[in-house]
Symmetry: D2
Subunit: 352 residues, 4 copies
């Protein structure tokens, strides 16, 4: 499996599939009234050291859009990175779920927003004027779309500023586990303790079949969420099959083991790439994704070797590539990639 295209191409952790099979026995109350779902709040509260309101959904786009609709009125603005998934790759889901709110796009290195960028955007808004949509929320992606990770301090600074400006803060945690594994801190440190109000807690990319959780740290914000989820078609009737994925994901640290493994393999790949002449990493490799500029000849050679990854753009004789390591990427695939890099290094250097 020489596939580094996406962490969505991997399957599910065996532990999670086993849990799904186990929960099939007998009957269970539908629509989330089952015991597994009921138990999730306590599990998440334990993980986050905080009372939480938890809503399982099947996709990250649903988690994000429903979260944002809880934070932003139709006439509001949600600030996010210009390359954020919610802006670029969800086909307008936030606009749909909020009833037509705007996304305010911010620039920032490696997919990370700074308080300065947010401040600059806010300075252009006439607060309280009906002529303009009004700032309502900030959405951060942790780990970022380019594989970088916000530090605890960065998050706290952003949330403090956003709150001072009257914004609520959402975290798109599609790769939350990878960020956490990188930082080695407590889940609370990069969520409510830093000031996050709502988290899209991702499990799908890191080992589940289709399971995400919207986690509210302030239960008042969850008002109306139940109805928005249902009318969005996201209330799963046999909910236990979804909830048990989250249960198994959190069980015995599976989620962190999976993420740490992917991060470590990504770091090995990154180190191998960075050592090559003519190669530049485009963002710090802190999670399970690598963005890098490679000589076109090297890209061609790797493709010829059967490696699969995304080419995101080109600039003269160099190409920008994205490699993603999944929780179950085989070590052998990484070894093979590194070996190939070694073989091609000379040619790459010549072409670089």
């Amino acid at each position: 499996m020489r596939n580094f295209e996406s962490d969505n191409t991997s399957g599910a952790s065996p532990e999670i599939l086993d849990a799904v099979a186990r929960v099939n026995a007998g009957s269970a109350a539908s629509y989330g009234a089952d015991e597994v779902t009921a138990g999730l709040a306590a599990r998440f509260a334990d993980v986050f050291e905080h009372d939480v309101t938890v809503f399982p959904v099947a996709t990250g786009t649903a988690a994000n859009a429903l979260s944002l609709a809880s934070l932003c009125p139709p006439y509001g603005v949600i600030y996010c990175h210009r390359e954020a998934h919610v802006s670029v790759h969800e086909c307008g889901a936030p606009e749909f779920y909020t009833g037509g709110a705007k996304l305010g796009l911010l620039d920032g290195a490696a997919g990370k927003i700074t308080p300065e960028a947010l401040a600059e955007a806010l300075a252009a808004v006439w607060r309280g004027s009906e002529h303009m949509t009004q700032p309502a929320a900030l959405s951060l992606t942790q780990a970022s779309e380019f594989g970088a990770v916000y530090t605890v301090d960065e998050l706290a600074a952003l949330c403090d500023f956003a709150h001072a400006q009257g914004l609520r803060v959402h975290m798109d945690g599609a790769r939350f586990a990878n960020a956490l594994a990188h930082l080695g801190c407590a889940p609370a440190d990069i969520t409510w303790r830093a000031g996050i109000d709502v988290l899209s807690f991702g499990a799908t990319k890191n080992g589940a079949m289709a399971a995400e959780a919207v986690v509210f740290f302030d239960p008042e914000l969850a008002d109306g969420f139940l109805y928005r989820r249902k009318r969005g078609g996201h209330l799963i009737s046999k909910m236990r099959f979804l909830s048990v994925q989250l249960e198994a994901y959190l069980e015995d640290g599976l989620w962190l083991r999976n993420a740490a493994r992917a991060n470590a393999l990504a770091a090995r790949l990154a180190a191998g790439l960075a050592a090559l002449p003519g190669v530049t990493l485009d963002a710090p490799v802190e999670a399970n994704m690598i963005f890098a500029w490679l000589p076109a000849a090297l890209v061609e050679a790797l493709v010829a070797d059967g490696f699969r990854f995304h080419v995101m753009g080109a600039d003269g004789a160099r190409q920008r590539v994205r490699l993603v390591v999944s929780f179950n990427t085989e070590e052998a695939a990484v070894d093979a990639f590194l070996a190939a890099l070694g073989r091609h290094a000379g040619g790459a250097q010549a072409a670089g």
Copy 2:
């Protein structure tokens, strides 16, 4: 398991769970570009003897609302039965996905709509006048919310009339297999041959974990569906886990076996009930659901016996109950229920 509450409380067919486990091997393209998903169009075309465009989604509400949004503009009216799931139990999903269309509510025995009821509603509309929302679609539920089944002729008459009036026709087939098993006809007979334009093809209630398919018989109507599904948050990233449920569901007639079994058990229950003094069936029992008026004392006695079912209302000393049989309801549970009826018949008679 003396549970007759819902076909959503049952688990999944072992064949479907096995297929899910099998598809986990290796990696697969994400977001529906995998081979299992690609194969669904041919499988459904085979089942329906017609070219179809098929979109898997995880919930029936999503299937219905996305279907209806393909048929009805924001200023349109979707006619449906007053008790239709899309009207009563989806928390406004059709209104949300259409951008604020109206549901026009029609009466009709046993949850079934007649051309006459539709004609009467249409007569009150000023066609082409901007003051009124305009008729756009008809949504039928097969089997109906009360367990009745439209015949082939009934469907054809309804679709013919609706088409003549410029409406498109959607079928909510949450229990499509149960209807089909009852009629013993071809799937085509109660869909495109009768005039159905779009079908919400349900699998969840009849053996899947969470899998429905939106089936378009006219591909032009599917324009924009991809985008609406994605912005609704209903594009599953590891789609093969969803698609394979549909594949297994259709494999070797599993879906029809499951439905026929549930129908047969429901028929046994219904016969037992109907034979009792003081009991009236509220709708023909043609699928896997029974709606009946029972003496309150009998209801009480059955509950005391540990049987679980929904009490939907009361009228003097009688209560209206709903019993639903699942694909995997144990024969023993039905036997026990019938035996209990026998034991309580005397008391019920006295109270009736």
Copy 3:
């Protein structure tokens, strides 16, 4: 002008046109920051004996839809009469502005809702269940779509019940002045004192060119109204031309004089009709509208005489007609109509 079709076919009161011409002098701050607009709050507060938040808009549909969007979330239900303008004749404006809420349709004589009808509808709702849209508001029309007027006590009873059930109450006052002129009470008596939370205060039908006001009696409910109005395209740039219509409308009792005049002429028409054999009034004539069943021959004769009015339906040899008297309907037209009735009485009787 033998036209009894609508109070929208009349022009504007000269006093209002004069005020519009007067306000044209000089320049004025735009978008409602002008002095005329600023003065409206005090004028309305004076009229209603209560602090109010007032927003001028150009149409009744805008007033209603924006009001309702302030009271009802996208997943809410607004209860109204089955024949209410907001339901039948606004092409889904409430659904559009609320983001897809539902209208719950209630029956009731003469276009008036009773607490009993509301109670029955509420009894079918699972309060707090995500499967159903949730009751949020009640919308009453005063005078009703059929020309009847709620008494002070009727309004109080409805509002009390609605509030007890957690609903907010909106009044569609497109013909508010006509209702008030009929009752002879204070504006406060049929609004906030009775429990109305928001009023669509109509002026257009009763003498303005295009001017309505949304009047909030609880300023907290107006949160977000400014933004909804602007994004609905209803913030008029040269607002003084709109506001001055409302100012002139309220000046020296113009509004009540206009309404009283129309009511009185309508009463004369109604008395003339009711005295005829074969004629039945369909609703009490308490405002400026008459709904009546007439012998078809009489309808034909009146049309032949050049009278214009709406025929709403037929039942055998009788037709249901609507006659509307405007603030500036000529007395001579009413005299002529009554004279014609006298002439045709014999023929009508024969046909009746």
Copy 4:
């Protein structure tokens, strides 16, 4: 009146007020079925030398948002200038009316878009991929938000490119008359002949009280417009009062006289400003608006003289100001401003 704040602070042309008063006589069919409204299509067809479908509305925001909703599905993108009114100053009206479409923001000098900027934005879109909202429309503002005017060739180039890319083109013509007066060409030259599909034809800023017209050059695009307008609350009941403003506006060239006068006065102001040391015009002054950088001391002196205008920003010792000339700005006000510039020139130079 030393007021250069906005062309919305001016009143209405006497010819238009007279027409409004005249149309008040007698009664007229409501909701646009009157003769004045019926005559608008022919008048606009005459002006534009092309069959057109015309819809009067009361505000520019309504005209724009309703137009864009006719061109763009909820999952579409409307490209416009980053500073376009539709993006910055309509509180999300396009998002609301389209059901949550996106605005794609383009840069460009003087508020004008280039085909290159559009091409660059389109290059980043995965056409046909459900992950991304899809390009649907281009919206141009003529004259631009900064008072510049697209030439005939510039428009043709933009429309040709947009059409080749599958986009429809909308023109926000809030100051269409000013642009036309500047170019001296036929209205057709900068609309359908250049490729414009829909025009928001503004009259309010240039002499009407509250009147705009949506002009479709391709009637098929107007499908559904009637319903969208009504459910937006923008169907005026006594429509003749709105339509007659447009009629009078076009009568005997009033619209072009008004615009030419404002343009000429703006040009005088601009020449006076440009001649001063330390003053830089920020955009070509081609319509009735001036954007310029002035020494802060000069701004202060002018304000002290009683001149009113908007200060849009500051950069060191210079301030960016906007001056707008209305159709009825007094010549004396312009003379006075120029005289004041002369007086302050020395001081400004010193400060500059």
